[in-house]
Structure formats: structure tokens, C-alpha cells
Assembly symmetry: D3
Homo-oligomer: 329 residues x 6
């Protein structure tokens, strides 16, 4: 098994738990799941599908906290170990970035976050004229957030930035959708010179068979390796009793990420624990953030369970890459 | 916190359990939930969404018992403490009230009951030409039941009488619907001189955001306070995997109950326990009856869980009123 | 062929044209159809599905005039011969009847009108909280209109009054529906002591096979004969390219009109002329008013064609009754 | 209670567990359920809805194993006691029976198996042109399987052979369906001289009220008794949150099995255990195989739970027959 | 242009009209269309989608006559020239063929007819348990009709027999469907030793792009040529305002007709005349019968227009074959 | 009536016909409609929804020509008078603009064209990964066309460029949609520095009541006046028998075109002629191009009728502006 070279700074304090004895799963769950209960905040109905990044020698996160109105908002959180989190009781209030008009707040959910060059960028599913599209903002300190333009026209969800420019352009994956519980979804690539104007759209992945037959959408920020971008993504199957969300992975070409090198034919994570099978939306495992330690190859993946709580699972980069080579569509 | 004056006779033996230590919830669950298991009767598939009233120094109820054919019927029940119930194995057989034609039985579900003037009235979702509308009957003793005319044309559900006349007329809330698993629902007010002819219909509440965005429907009999009618109601959100039923409350104008004074923006009860999340219909908390002790301000609410079992939760009237004042839409 | 006795005043100047030579149709079209073009008013998009009554020795009507916004409103019209009509450019503005609250205007369509006792009553599909239900008003002179309460909760359409009290109560047929282009519809009977409170609802007719398999709804005011109430109604079939509206007839019991004596198995009128097959809604023949001359047995039926124009067709009461006897479901 | 005579060889080692004390259920669950976990195979996502037959003094089965791609395939299994199973890691590869063309493999699920005359036949839901229909194969040893022609045109599911010829013809029950999560389903009977050409189709059972109101489909191979064919079948109810699968039973005429003698009005098994209520498809109890010991009247029924795991339940033939006599539709 | 050899007896009196001057259309309409008006029978609503065969030196037909109930039935007709038709006022009453059980009549539509060996066979869409499937009958004289078993399980339509056995078996094309206005449809081939039991099903044609993107179904009896079976078929496109039915052609392998040699990429006939665009179902041209004169290569095709009337169009076999060679998918 | 100043070169040979005597319509039809029949090309099924621009002293157009496969393609056309057109039999073959990758052709429909600065730009609904989005190309001579990047992610339709830069950026209106016959549609504004990257999206118009209640989409290139951008657009109403497309107009702010100054409450053109009411899609009047003569205020609008043929209608700019002032939403 060749060891891929992961790009990025070492993260020795990455949250971690070894694979359970006897298990040969490529991805395994944290034994203390869920790490964030639905009611961590007194006003929260559920906390899930959220963004986490290293910040100095701690961690910062942007969390989807649906409150007891079931209104969806983004809250900042901090943690020393990436497992025990404190989350602000007040939602993030975006202010207009310089040169941008102030935007009215509607709702925000399913955030992602990454460092690019000189600041942290946050993207999320943002209300635009009442419809879902991709909001974009940045922060230097996870205290003050500056909102830019929405990246796309409605209807869009799961906008995920690459952690660096490609060919001089910012790059984003997204999943064009419709107005409701969209029964379709493909991942597209778009580029931008300025994070405002987007173009050169390319199809990356369509639904395929089985667990990913209804829709697919990007999860955590792509992880750069010397073999390509490692992308964890969600796939959805429609059973007679609704959607089932599972997690897979793909390896995208470094320079032309719309070229798929490998893509997992089996899933890597599937709703099998009660906290994934039972909740506000049964049968959901939805990856939305990952921490990576290039020196050890460890990856910790944050995922929402049952649209209710936040969980952790783990894997080794070289094992995932190997799995992709041997179990690709 | 001002103490509202509740109208009605004292009910010192109201079923009750104090709020759990450490909890600040306005509504809290009974620790012995569910109080009625799905198979209390040998032939029952589920027992839920039912009516309870004080009767002498005991309690009487009209229960929705779906049998193992999954046929829906109404059964009488009795209890000394409002918690431990005996339910008749045979369903209620309505006889025609004097001056009324005998009606053919189709099905009956989601009953409500209240005392008005000289007798107990029961309303329920009744089969009329095979379609759901509001059945009306009365009883003096919960032994013999006299059926009157259906209140409305099909399609209607959740017909809930006020416990006294308003402006000389009987008054009812109801939720016009359609023929199936109706994806919409608003609460209307109607009046009647004789419980047979109904008119002067007024819109009371529409769906709003979040947990009550798909439909809303009245729950227990309105509770009279000196500030208005306190109404507990269900709201429904449509997730990608189906309906989720939560409970909220509203305060309606005493004389013109179609005027909403306050209405809860957050929910007060939401399916979070396994017995609410798992069952014949996952994720349902459906309030259908309430007992009130004006002297202590205690309210005990009966609700169906997962369309499978019967549960209890509690609150203090003054806290609910205060919550409505501070968390109104 | 027994001659039925029609109840009512003679109407010697009833609009009329003899059956075309060679035809044996029970119902035949006026050769000058459509009698009212879609743009009779400068601002009208279409004029159809309207009410007509004798008034002194002339005729008065309440017309559905959709304007070029395609907003639906009611306009008064007058005619000396029932064929050539002048229609008011301005829509009817209802004022609150004494003792009633003023209602906000939303929309109004598909009106019916009849004389009862001392005045003319108009019913129509009226916006109530934005939804369709049955509006009720009266006029003495077709100049001033007094609006009463809506008869029913939403959702309802095709409310048609009987031209006299039955058993001391006002009586109405209606067709409970849903919020959109309702794919079902049955005719129900309701009674009222005061035209405000309605009850004692009874099912009259369900859809049947063929042309009336999707829904049925009452058309003109029932015509009293000594054999029963003669009712022309519309039936709808759903083809792969949409709804097709045809006309049939039924004979209802005089005292208990929810008892159907005869009901036409074949249709009596079907969209076969270009003005019925082509227009804003292709393939619609929708009867909404009838004039009757008891002395001759002549009946003139007004019907909307293609939801665009107003047409006339004719028949002989005794022939329709005979047809019903021999072609009943 | 008359003892019916069951036809077939004694099966003294039938898997069995006595009815729990205090229970009066006609059908009771095995206390060790589920007998096969979802991940018995390292690559399996779920194992359920499968076929079991006695084989020499052991048992053989054909199992539906969905793998972690959620691809559906058939795997052979063996067991000494019918409870503890070993399942082949590799799916069954059908070879063309002599005189038949080789068929391309698409997917296969919900198998049934029976001995007829000189070999074991397996039927299952087989991909034909990408659509579901009934595949037919035979084996002598559960090692090599010979595939014949598909029995029917698409779209069909739940094809279940009778264990012997009737009137000289092979006989099969099946449930014509459509392309997706079919919301309807009736059981039909068809015959064949050669297991290739099928005809003389007859309707056997339609959906009825309650638990079997959406669709019904045959489960295990019909069990021959001297009173008729005992058929366990699944019925489906559509709640607002999806399908619910329960089990009932029917007795069919021995010579003309499309004549239903008795059919259970109540269900016999309903999703009430967590392993039936929670899983890839919540609320499913789906019977697919039965073992019968004529000497004792014992019947062991294999059923899939929540489309995830394999379970066992038990009954006594004479009690089921008696139940059918007293609780028939 | 190679002249294909058509198989069959000469038909010198085939109905015919030369291609209009200036036209280069491969298929052209009869100038006297429609040849059968919707009301040829006093009780008919429409006459269309029907079967025609040569009979002695005249023509016989089986016609779909929907009556003014819009009940669908089959009527026999006769014509000397294939253009002017007399149709029986009474529908065909099938009697049970010898050895067959009498079938209850539900409805029948879209018949096809052909001579095989010693008699004429008629197939049609027949009510079976209330659902559509393929009825089969034969007649020697178009006076008495003997009904056999339905060929397939529901749901099926457009069953079209080949005019001779293939490999010793009867052969049929059909289009499995669902219960309503089916939005999909593929043509399958099935064989039978006895016209009772059917098997060895094979997919022949799926929908393709454009005019045939929603469904395809066989039209007239296949025409044998030395190059293959010439099949005219209908294709359906779904516009935002419903289905549009056009006609194309295909050439199938003589021995293995599920092998498609050529298939028309453009349509050959499309609703462009008012009688095809306007009627009970707008925009339908539906071929159902063809007459062929092998000596001249002339083909006359009967097609239903707008589900209302019967029309004729013409072509030359060699031109159609040439068109297929040059415009194949 | 104030005369607005139109911006642009004089167009004295604009196609024109005076308003019919007696008419007071703001927009009137050309008496020679349709100007292009459906079969102008031998292989065309329909020609409609197309682009027209002045070119030297003639006119050039890009036409949507659906061929007899009902494949949608773009064809160039030329005309001396704007009424009689010659259209190339071959579709436009785009070549990659310099610096762009060649795009695969899927389909193209509903084109628009305008001159900006130094060349003609064409936009259209273009297949991207099989889904509709906005294609962009330019030409200098309507002979060679250079394709750039698609403007947006799927799913989008009706992309319409402004005829000059605004604030230094190219500007486009578009209507985000979904994958099928989209039942919703709003007009959005987007800007681009380079016609490749697009951003700063703004909502311009939502559906409103009546004729424009289902969706709205931009029609011809916006016409610059000194009062604002004059935009003709289509609005869609959903009747029980499908979509109805009408035409209205709006005036947008010159500098911030997402600010609507006026918007027509009534429609200006509605399907009332047989060629608009009958065809491949009944009841469609779809404006797609306009010619303007600033010196006379004349505007000629090209519109597709019934998705089948191309038509012309006329108006005076000052009358339209005046109408908007007096009939604005």
C-alpha cells in the first residue's frame, strides 16, 4: 500500500480513536458518538452538518444549529480537542464585506470552511430571494464575518471551496438543485477570479447505482494529495420510505478536478447506528468537514447524523486511497 | 410573571409530576411514558390521539384504538388517576340522538371531549360517504352515546369544540383538509345555534415557518383564561422523509377567538424520545386532550406518540402564557 | 311520452331555436353560438359560466368576466331576448347585508342566481382566506348586491341554491374540492334555516363511469317538476391531455333531493364544436344557468365553452325526462 | 379446533421455540431475532427477504444480500438448524439451462425456493431490460443453478411457485407492479405447461382495508393442507410517512387457487420490535419462506425486518387455520 | 431504390390516392380525411384506433367506438372500398371459444386484426379485473367471435400479433404499461405455442429521442417483406401541455423480430391537420391497421386522429424501406 | 402621452402594419401571421421562438427549428423586409472561440441575439451535461459562430443579454428552472466582466397574479429608453389543461435593472388566434425578438405561436410606456 503524500501542515492533535479491534472497516465511528447532542444549546433543536477547521492550536467551527422554531442558522464554536465543543448561543451576524452590499438574512445551513491564502472562507446554503444558493463569507478570527456575493443563481446547495487557487482561479464544487427536497443532484466544478463572478462550469460526478443513485453532493473541503484531490461526498438512495444518505469518496485530478480518477463503488459509511437511523430525518450520515494530519495520514471526518446530532468517524488516508483504487466505479 | 386566572372547577387530583431537576423546559414529559401501551387491548394495534375529561372524581376518556386490522374506532375508558386506564374492549356504538337519523359507522379517530352546559360532547374525525369530516355526539355517562349530524361537509379533521357558548352560539375549531395525507392545513372557527347548522366561518391560524410550516390543527379543548383562550395545537413540518408533528400553543381572543393574541414561534414539544420517534408513524407528538387545575395552574396534556401510544406531559399555565408573550410569532 | 308538469311562471319569450332538421339530439346547440364573445367588454379576456334569470319581461345575468389580467370577477348584464347581452364594464361591488360584516374581495367566479320568495339570490365561488368557497348575496334589482356570510368552509365550488325552501329550510347543492384543479368532486346537499348556518349534509351524486368519472358538479338552479328536481350538471373525464367537461342531467326526489331518481348514463352535451374544443381551456362545455317555460316545456341552457365564451343550447323538458327514464345509470 | 392435514414430509428438526408464556398471539417471534445480522458477510449491507428449504437433513437457503454498494444479489446459504446460517461470500452465478439462452445479470432480490418433482426451483425478482420481472431457475444441489426464461413481461415482483403441478400445469402467484416503489399490488395466479410459457391468468386477491390497503403480495411457497393452500402474504398500508409492511394469511382452494376460502382481516405480524421498525426501510415485516412439519403442525416463517435483517417467527397450522375461519374478511 | 418483396396476396382494390403534387412526403394523408366521422353511429362519441383486414373482395373491420357514455367497445364494420364504412350499431359480443371459460365484459379498445392460417384473430386492450391487458379472440366471418384467454397479466396495451407463426410459435408485440395514462412504454416480443401460454419475452424497442421519447407502441400488424418485418408504430412526446402521438416505422429481423434492423429517427406522420390537433385528445395520430398490395408496393394505413375520428394515409413500401435505411436511429 | 426617447440607430425599414381600424389594442397582430410556417424547411417540424436583428440594411435571424425528429437546433436566416425569410437548411455549427474548449452539441433552443460593441452575440438554451443552461456565442457575419462558455450552471433558460455594458459589466437576464416542464420561474439579473464569469445576481421579477402566476421569463433583448429598459416578457398561467403563455411588458431601471419601475398587470398579447391556440403546444404566445425604430417609436415583436410557427405583432413605444404607467402591478 503506497503512502500518499498529503499536502498541508501537520495536525498532531487531530481528534482520533483507533479502529476497533476486529474491525476491518476503512472508516470507523467514534465510540463517543454523538459528540454534540441536539440540545447542546438551550434553544437548539439539532446541531449537525457543520464546518470545522484547525485554528492556531485549537479548533474552530461553524455549526448548523436549528433552533426550536426549526429555523436554520449558523453558530460559531470552539474546541481544544475537536471533540468537546462550546457553541455560541447567538447566531453569526454577517456584515457586508468592503465593497459589497449588505444582504438580508433568511436562513443558512450546511456550512463548510477552509483557509485560503490569508483568511478563512465560509460557504453555506444561503437564502437568496427565499431560495437556496451558495453564500460566501470570510473571517480572520471566527468572531467577525464578512459576507460577499452569493456565488450562484438559485437553486444550489453544498457549495464547497477548494483550499487553494487552481490555475489562478478560486474553485468550488456545488450541487444545483430545485426548490424542495430535491430528488436529483450532480456535482459541478466552477471557477472564479474574485470569488464573485463564477464560470467555466464543468460536470464532475453524476449519481450512479445503489446508495448514490438519487443524488450526490460534495462533503468536506477537498483534501490535497500528490495523487489528486480526495473528496468525501454524500450519496442518496430513495427507498419506499424516503431518502437514505451515505458517504463515499472520490479522487479528482489535481489540475482539472472535473476529471474523476477514482470513485467509490461501495459506500464508506452508512446509517447503521441508532443515532443515524432515528431522529428528525431518519437514515442520514452526512459528511461536512474533515481534519487531516499529513504526517500520520489520519483523517477525522465530522458528519451529521439523522439531521439531528454531530458525529465523528476516522480513517487513514492511505487506506482510503487504496480502497478507491480497488473499489472504483 | 402574572398569574392568569383559569376558568373552571378545581381539579386537585390532576395527574402530575414535577418538572425534572435541571430542566427549564416549559413543557416536560411524564417519566412513565407511554402511559398506555399500544396493546393494552388484546385486539389493539395502537392507542393514541384521544380525549380525556374529569368525570365526578375520576376521569373518563374516549380513545382512538386502531385494531389489528388497523381499523380505526373509538373506545371508552376510565381511570381514577388519569394515568392508569381501563379501556373497553368493545368500541362505542353510537345511537341516533332524538330527532336525528341513524348514521352508518365507517371509522372514527382523533376524538375530543368536553362538558357543555348539561352534558359531555364528543367530536371526532368521522367517515361521511367514506370521507373524513367532523362527527358530533353527546353522552351523559360515557356509557350511552347519542350521535347528531356531522358538523361539516367533507373534507375536515381536528374538530374541537369550545367548552361553552360564545355570543349564544356553540363554537368549533376545525381544519379543512383533503382526501389523503393532507399536505396543508389551517385552523378555522365556526359557530352554530344548535350544533347542527354551522356558519360564520373565520380563519384563525395559517401555517407559519419551521416546525409549523406544512399544517396546523387544534389539539385539546380550548382552556379559558382571563386573558383569552389557551389553545395547544399541532404543527407539521415536511422533511425529505415525511411529516414531523410538534406541539405549540396560542392565545385567542375571548370573544372573537379568530383573533390571535399570541402564538408560539418555537415549539413546546417535539419528537425526541424513542417512543415519539419510532412507531407506526415516526416523529409524531400530537396533543389531543388537557386537564386543568385552575387553583394551581397545573395543566396535564395527553398526546399521541408516533401514532402508536398515549403519553402525558405537563406545564404550568402561567409559564405557558409567559412563554407566549415572549416568544410569539 | 308523458308531459311533466313544470313549476313556475310561464316564460313565453324564452330564447329559443328549434331542433335542427334531421337531428334527434335531446339537447341541441344554438346556431348563433357563441352568443357572447370573449371580448364583449374591452377589458375582458373571456366571459363564461354565468347566471341568467328572468327579470320583469327582460333578463338579467351575473357574468363571470375574466379580465386581461385574468382576474376573475362578477359583472351584471341585461338582455331583452336572453341572447344579445349588455354587460356592465365595472364589476359588481358587494355591500354588507344588514347585520353582516363587510367582506374583502378576492375573486369570484362561476355564479348562479335564483329568485326565492322575495328577492334574487346569487351564489358563486368566492375567495375566503384566499381559498375557494361559496359566497352568498342577494339583490332586489341587479343594481345593488348585499353580501351575506360564506356558506361553507373552504374548499368548495359550484354552490347552487334550490329555488324554494324545502321542509322550511333553504337548500343548496355544492361540490367540496381542494385548493387547485381538483381531480375529484361529488355533489352534496346541505340545508340552512337562515342562509348563514348550514348543516344536515347529504351525499347526492358521486362520479360514475366514462364522461363523469373524475368529478361531477351541479350546473343551473334545479328545475322543479312534478316528478322531481331536474338538475343539469357537469361531469369531467381525465384524458391523457387534461380534463374534458360534458353535461348530463339527473332527477332528484322532490322532498329529499339527495335521493337520485334518474341520472343520465350518456352525456347530453359534449365539446364537439371548435368554440368548445379550442380556447383558454380546451374541451369544456359547462352548464351554469337555465330558463324554463312551463307552458311549452322549453328549456334554454346557458353554458360556458372552453372557459372562454358563453353559449346556448336547448331542449324540451319532457324529452329530457324521457331520456333520463330510458338512459339512467 | 380441527387439526388440518398438512401435506409433505415430516420435518422433525424444524427450528422452533414455544409461544411465550402469557401470550395468545397466533404468530410469535423468535427470541433470538434477528437470526442473521445485516453484516454477516463482510461486504453485505443487509440480508433479508430470503428463501429457505429443507435439504437432506439440513437446510439450504437463497439469500438476498445487498452489498455495500447496495447492489442486490442472491447468495446461497446453508444451516444445520435453520437458525445459524453460513452464507457464501460470492453471489450465485446462474448458467443457462439447457436449451436456454444465457441471460445477462442485472440484479436479483426477494427469492423464493421450492422442490417440485425432481429438483429445487428458485424464483426471484430479476432485472429484465433493467426492469423487475420474475426470474426462474433450478438447482439440484444449491451449488449449480440453471436459469430458464423470465416468467412474465415486466413489471412484476413476488413470483411464488406452488410446490406441485395443478391440473398438470406448473402454477405461480405473482404481483404485477410498475417501475418504482409501486403504490398498488394484487396477487394473480398463472399456469404453465413448461415453466416457460405462462397463461390462464386469474386474479386471486386485491388490497382490502387497513394494513393491506395499498398492496398485497405472496410470501412463502403455499403450504398444502387438506382444506386448501395456506398462503402467508404481505400487506402494505401507506402512512403519511411511508409504507408499512405487515403479514397476513389466506386459504386458497386446492384445485382452483384463485378462489379464496378465507383471508385474514387482522394482520398476524406487524412491525413492533425495534429491529422491524428501524433500519434501511423502517416498519417492514416481510415473510418470504416457511418450513412446515406436518406431523406436529409447526410452521416456522422466515421474514425480513426493516429491509435489513432476517428474522424468524412461529405458529401452529391448526391455530392459523382456525384464526382464518374466525377472522376472515 | 431497391424494390422490397412484400409477402402476401395481391390487393388490387386497396384504398388509394396518389401523393399530392409537389409533396415529397414519404407518407401522405387522404384528402377526404377523416373517412369516419365521430358520430357515424347515433350513439357514438368517437370512432378511431381500429382494425381493418381484407375479407373476400371487400374489407372488414373491428372498430373502437366510444359511445356517448364514453364507454369503450368494439364494433364490427364492413366496406367495399375500405373508405366508406358501415358499422354495426351493436357492439361485438364475444362468446367463449371451445374449452375456454366465458369472460365478463368490461371494456375493449384499440383492436388489431389479422389472418393466421385458418381464421382471423383479433387482439385488443381488454379489461381484466378492471385493468388493461391484451384480449385475444378469433372469428371466421366477422359475425361470431370466440374469445380465448387474455395473453398477459395486467397491465398491458397495444398487443399486436404477427400474421404467421415464427419458429412454430405464435408471436405478439405488446407494450407493458401501468394503470393510468402511462408515461412510459417499450415494445416487447413474446411467443406462444397455443395463443394461451406466452413466454420467451424479448425487448424490441425502447423510447428514443424527440417525438418518441416518452413511449413507443406497435401499430398495425407487421408487414412481411424479404428484408424483414415492416412495423409502423406510435411514439409519444410529452410537451408541457400533454402527450403528442406521432407515427414512425421500423424494420425487424424476420426470424428474430426483437432484433431491430432499422428504426426511423424522424417521424413519418405528425398531428398537423386540425382533425388531428383538435378533438377529445388533441395532437394524436395513432396508426392501428394497414392494408398492403404486394404487387404495387402500396400501403394504406388507418390511423386514429385526436382520439376522435378515423383517417387514412398512404405510402409506398419501397420508399418507406429506403427512408428507414437512410434515416435510421 | 409623453414620447420616450429610444436609444439606437434609426430603422426606417422596420416591418410594420398599422393598427387595424376600430382596434384600441396596445399590441396588434400582423394580418399575414404566421410569417413563417412550420414546414418552411423540408425537414422542419416547427420554427418559432427565434432571434432577429438588423444587419446592414437587411435582417438576420437565428431560428429555433425543431426537425421531424423533434430535435431542437438553431438555424441562421436572412430577410430583406423582416417578414419573408430564408432559413439555412443546415443548422449552425458552432466552433470554439479562441481560448475556449470546443463544446459538444446536444440541443439548442429559444435563441436571442444582439449587437454589443463590436459583434453580435447569441444566447440560447443549450444542453450542458444534458441539462438546459445558457449558451453564449458571437458572430461577426451570421456565417461563422464562435461559442464561449455556458453562462450558468444548469438549470437555466431564457438567458437574454442587455445590448450594452452596465457599469462596465456585461449584463444578462435569465430564468433559473429545473429539469422538466418547470412549473415555476423568476427573472434574475447577473453581470460579468468577460462573458465567462457571472455574478452579482439579483432578483428582478417574480410571478404575480393571473396570466403570470406560474412563471415569468424575459423575451426580446431589452430596449433602451430614456425612462428605463423596456422589457417584453412571457408569463404563464396553469389551467387545468396545461400552461398558457401570454406576453406582458416591464420597465426596468437604467442603471440597476433589477429595480422594476413599471410592470404590466394585464397582458399585452394572449393566445386568441387559432394559430396560437392550436399546434404542438396549444395556447402559446412567446415573444423572443424585437425590432425598434427610435425615430418613429415603432416596435415589431417576433413571437412563437403554439410552439409551432413564427408570428409578428406591433406596437408604439410611447403607447406601451403609457400603458405601463397606467396599468402597473
Amino acid at each position: 500500500m503506497r503512502k500518499p503524500m498529503l499536502v498541508g501542515p501537520a495536525l498532531p492533535n487531530i481528534p482520533w480513536e483507533d479502529r476497533p479491534r476486529g474491525s476491518s472497516d476503512v472508516v470507523w465511528r467514534y465510540s463517543g458518538n454523538p459528540i454534540i447532542p441536539r440540545d447542546l444549546l438551550p434553544t437548539s433543536n439539532s446541531i449537525f452538518n457543520s464546518a470545522v477547521v484547525p485554528y492556531r492550536d485549537e479548533y474552530r467551527g461553524v455549526f448548523r444549529c436549528d433552533d426550536t422554531r426549526r429555523a436554520m442558522a449558523l453558530h460559531a464554536g470552539r474546541s481544544e480537542d475537536g471533540i468537546r465543543w462550546r457553541i455560541d448561543a447567538e447566531r453569526i451576524r454577517f456584515q457586508a464585506a468592503e465593497g459589497f452590499e449588505a444582504a438580508e438574512w433568511g436562513y443558512g445551513y450546511d456550512p463548510r470552511a477552509t483557509w485560503i491564502e490569508d483568511r478563512y472562507y465560509v460557504t453555506w446554503c444561503n437564502a437568496f430571494a427565499g431560495w437556496p444558493t451558495i453564500g460566501v463569507a470570510y473571517t480572520h478570527d471566527f468572531e467577525t464575518y464578512y459576507q460577499m456575493e452569493n456565488a450562484f443563481l438559485p437553486f444550489n446547495r453544498n457549495g464547497v471551496l477548494f483550499p487553494r487557487r487552481l490555475g489562478g482561479h478560486y474553485a468550488m464544487l456545488s450541487r444545483p438543485s430545485d426548490r424542495g427536497h430535491t430528488p436529483f443532484g450532480e456535482i459541478y466544478y466552477s471557477q472564479s477570479p474574485d470569488l464573485v463572478h463564477w464560470g467555466k462550469h464543468r460536470l464532475v460526478m453524476r449519481p450512479a447505482l445503489g446508495w448514490q443513485s438519487t443524488k450526490v453532493g460534495a462533503g468536506p473541503i477537498p483534501i490535497e494529495t500528490d495523487e489528486g484531490w480526495l473528496v468525501f461526498y454524500h450519496g442518496v438512495l430513495t427507498s419506499c420510505n424516503g431518502f437514505v444518505y451515505s458517504m463515499g469518496a472520490a479522487l479528482l485530478d489535481l489540475e482539472r478536478p472535473w476529471k474523476v480518477i477514482h470513485r467509490s463503488d461501495p459506500y464508506l459509511l452508512h446509517p447503521k447506528e441508532l443515532y443515524e437511523q432515528v431522529g428528525d430525518v431518519p437514515n442520514v450520515a452526512f459528511p461536512s468537514a474533515a481534519l487531516t494530519d499529513p504526517s500520520s495520514g489520519r483523517i477525522a471526518i465530522y458528519y451529521g447524523a439523522a439531521d439531528t446530532v454531530t458525529c465523528l468517524c476516522f480513517c487513514q488516508a492511505e487506506e482510503v486511497l487504496d480502497f478507491l483504487r480497488t473499489h472504483s466505479l
